[in-house]
C-alpha cells in the first residue's frame, strides 16, 4: 500500500509540471494582456493613455517577455519563495487575493460534495431496490431536470420563485446585515437558508449522474451470485444491500469523486456569478477576462491540483476499499 502511494506520489510531480505549463499557456493564449484590459478599463472612466504609457506599463508588469520566460519566472518564485505573483487587478499579491475566498470556496465545494453524495447515495440505493417503481421514476425524473436545466437558469428561476413568494432576494451566502455586523447566532437560520439555493443549484447538476451510477452499480451487484449466497446464509436484505452490494458499488462512485470536484469547480463558477457567491469562481472568470494571468493561473492551478489530489485520494481509497486492487498493487 505504501509503495503504491509512493509510486502515485512520484507520478504526481511530472503531472504537476505538465499541468502548470498547460495552464499558463492556456491562460496567456487569448490575445491581449493585462495592460490592454487595464488601459481599457481606465479609458472607460475617461482617462487617457499614450503609446509610451502603455509600453511603460508593460515593462512595469513584466509583460514584454515571451510567455515561457514569464512562466519560468512565475514558477521560480512559487518554488523558491512561495510567491504566486501579483494580481494586477487587485494590486495585491495573488496569494492574499486567493486567501480572501479560499476557505469559503473550499467549504462550499466540500459541502456541495458531501451534499451530492449524501443525497445521491441513498436515492441511488432506493432506486435500485425499487427498480421501475413510481419512486424510482419520480426521483430519476427530478434528478434529470436538475441536470438538464443549466445552472444559471435554475438559479434564476429558484431565486425568482423565492422572491415572488417571500419578497426576499437571496443573493450571496451572507446578507448585507451579516456582512455589516459579522456573524451572529441569530443569523444562522437565514444563513442556512441562503446556503440552500446554491446547494440545490450546484448540487443537483452532479447529483443525477451519481444517482445513476449508484443505481446501475447496485443493480449490477444485486444480480451477482454472492448476494444469493448471503441471502441463503440468512442475511437480512439490509445486510445484503449495505454490506455487500453497496460496498462493491462504491468503487466507481469513489473513483468518480475527483471528477465531481472538477465539475463542482466549473459548475460553481457559473452559478456563483448568478447567485453572487463570494467564492473563487467569479474571481477566476474576471481574472481570465481581464487577463490577470497570475491570479487566474494560480486559481486554475489550485483547482487542478485539488482535482489531482482528489484523484490520488480516491485511487488510494479505491485500493483500500477493494482488496483486489490492493493486492494487485502489492504484487
Amino acid at each position: 500500500m505504501l509503495k503504491y502511494i509512493g509510486k502515485r506520489m512520484l507520478l504526481f510531480i511530472p503531472t504537476l509540471i505538465i499541468i502548470s505549463v498547460v495552464i499558463f499557456f492556456i491562460i496567456q493564449l487569448p490575445p491581449g494582456d493585462y495592460v490592454t484590459s487595464y488601459v481599457a478599463a481606465l479609458s472607460a472612466e475617461g482617462e487617457t493613455f499614450t503609446a509610451e504609457d502603455i509600453a511603460q506599463l508593460r515593462l512595469q508588469f513584466g509583460l514584454d517577455d515571451p510567455w515561457f520566460v514569464q512562466y519560468f519566472n512565475w514558477v521560480k518564485n512559487i518554488v523558491t519563495r512561495g510567491d504566486f505573483g501579483y494580481s494586477f487587478e487587485y494590486g495585491r499579491s495573488v496569494w492574499s487575493v486567493i486567501m480572501d475566498r479560499l476557505y469559503l470556496t473550499l467549504a462550499v465545494s466540500f459541502v456541495i460534495l458531501v451534499f451530492q453524495y449524501g443525497v445521491s447515495l441513498p436515492i441511488g440505493i432506493y432506486c435500485a431496490n425499487h427498480q421501475y417503481s413510481v419512486g424510482d421514476y419520480a426521483l430519476s425524473f427530478i434528478g434529470f431536470i436538475g441536470t438538464a436545466t443549466p445552472n444559471f437558469l435554475l438559479a434564476i428561476i429558484i431565486m425568482y420563485v423565492v422572491y415572488v413568494n417571500t419578497g426576499e432576494v437571496y443573493l450571496g451566502l451572507f446578507s448585507t446585515e451579516m456582512l455589516q455586523n459579522g456573524m451572529r447566532w441569530e443569523y444562522v437560520p437565514e444563513f442556512l437558508g441562503r446556503c440552500l439555493i446554491p446547494l440545490i443549484v450546484i448540487g443537483t447538476s452532479g447529483t443525477c449522474g451519481i444517482i445513476r451510477t449508484v443505481r446501475a452499480q447496485m443493480l449490477d451487484e444485486q444480480a451477482r451470485q454472492y448476494t444469493l449466497t448471503a441471502r441463503a446464509k440468512g442475511c437480512s436484505e439490509a445486510t445484503i444491500t449495505y454490506k455487500y452490494c453497496l460496498r462493491a458499488a462504491l468503487n466507481p462512485v469513489v473513483s468518480g469523486m475527483a471528477g465531481s470536484l472538477r465539475t463542482i469547480f466549473s459548475g460553481s463558477t457559473v452559478s456563483a456569478i448568478v447567485m453572487n457567491l463570494a467564492i473563487q469562481g467569479p474571481v477566476l472568470l474576471t481574472a481570465l477576462k481581464s487577463q490577470d494571468m497570475y491570479l487566474a493561473g494560480t486559481i486554475v492551478l489550485i483547482q487542478a491540483v485539488l482535482v489531482l489530489v482528489g484523484t490520488l485520494l480516491s485511487d488510494i481509497a479505491l485500493a483500500w476499499l477493494d482488496p483486489r486492487i490492493r493486492f494487485a498493487e502489492r504484487g
Binding site: 449466497t229 441463503a232 440468512g234 476499499l321
Partner: protein, 350 residues
Amino acid sequence: MNNETASKETILEIRDLKVNIKTDEGTLTAVRGVNLTIKKGETLGLVGESGCGKSLTSKAILGINDKKCKAEGEIIFDAENLGRVNLLSLNPRGKEIRSVRGKQISMIFQEPMVAFSPMYTIGNQINEATLLHITRDKKKAREISLDVMKKVGIANAEKRYDQYPHEFSGGMLQRALIAMALVCSPRLLIADEPTTALDVTIQAQILELMKSLQKDFGMSILFITHDLGTVARMCDRVAVMYLGRIVESAPAVEIYKNPQHPYTRGLIGSVHKIGTKAQERLFSSEGTVPLALNLPAGCGFYDRCSRRIDGVCNVYDPQLVDIGQEHQIACFACTGCPYGKGGKEEKANE
C-alpha cells in the same frame, strides 16, 4: 449411501411446486408442479439438463429466487423452531425464513469463484452465518469457523481465514463454500451442482468430502446435478427432472438398473456411451429444453422422444405414476395412458 440412517421421517416435502417467471414476452412456467420428499439423513439427487428448473426448485425452497419468479404450491419443512411449516407461506424477506436459511437449510452454489464477495475475507463471510444464528460472540464464531474450515480440509485455516477470495484456488474456494454452508450444522444441505466448475480430481475430493461430512453432521442433502455419474456416487434416491417436471423418481440403484423414462434412459446412455454423436446432441446447446413460453400440449419430451405415441403423448400430459419399489414415472409409453379420452387436455397454441 447411508441406507441405515435413512429413517422414515420426512424433513422436506414439496407439493405441486410451480415457479412462474415474468418475462418481457409473458409469464413462463419454468417449474410445473414438482413433488418431492426428502427424508432425514437421506441424499436425494435431482438430475436434469440445464434450464430444466432444478435450480429454480432448489432456490424456491430457500425463497431466494429472483423477484421476477413466483413460486406456488407447498414446501413443507420440518423446522426446529417453527415445526412443520410451509416455507412458501413465509415472507421471503421476513425473520422466520431467515432463521431457516443458513441455519437449518443451507446451500452450496455451483460457482465458488463468484459465490463469495471479493470485498471481504473468507473468514468474515463464513462467520456471518454463525453470528446470525448461533452466537454473537465474535471470538467464538471465529473458533467455530476455523473448526469447520479444518473439517472441510482447508489447510492452514488460521491464515486462510484472513485471506480474500481472490487468493484462493477454485477447489479451495469450494471447500470454503462448503464450510460456510455447514458452519451452522444445517439439517438440510442443498448442493446445486457443487462440482461443475471444478476439474475432475478436485471434483472427486469434494464429493468425498461431502459424503464424509454428511456422516458427521447427520444431515439430508438435496444434490442437484446434470451428471448422473455423480449421482450414482452420492445419492440414495434420484429424481429426474425434465422441462419443469419430475419425470422419473426412484432409488439410485433402481434407476441405474432399471431406467424407465426415455429421457432417463438417454441420460444414462450418455454416461455409459460417451462419444455417440446422436446422444451428445442432447446436451449440446442446440438440443436444450424448448422455450417454455408456449409449450405444446402433451408430454414435454414428445418432440425428442423415440418412443412417442402420436395421438396420446402430444395430446395428454403424463403424470407421475407409481410403478413399484418407490419407483415413479411419468410416461405414457411406459405406463399406458392412465386417463383415456377426456383426460387433461391442452390444446396446442398454434
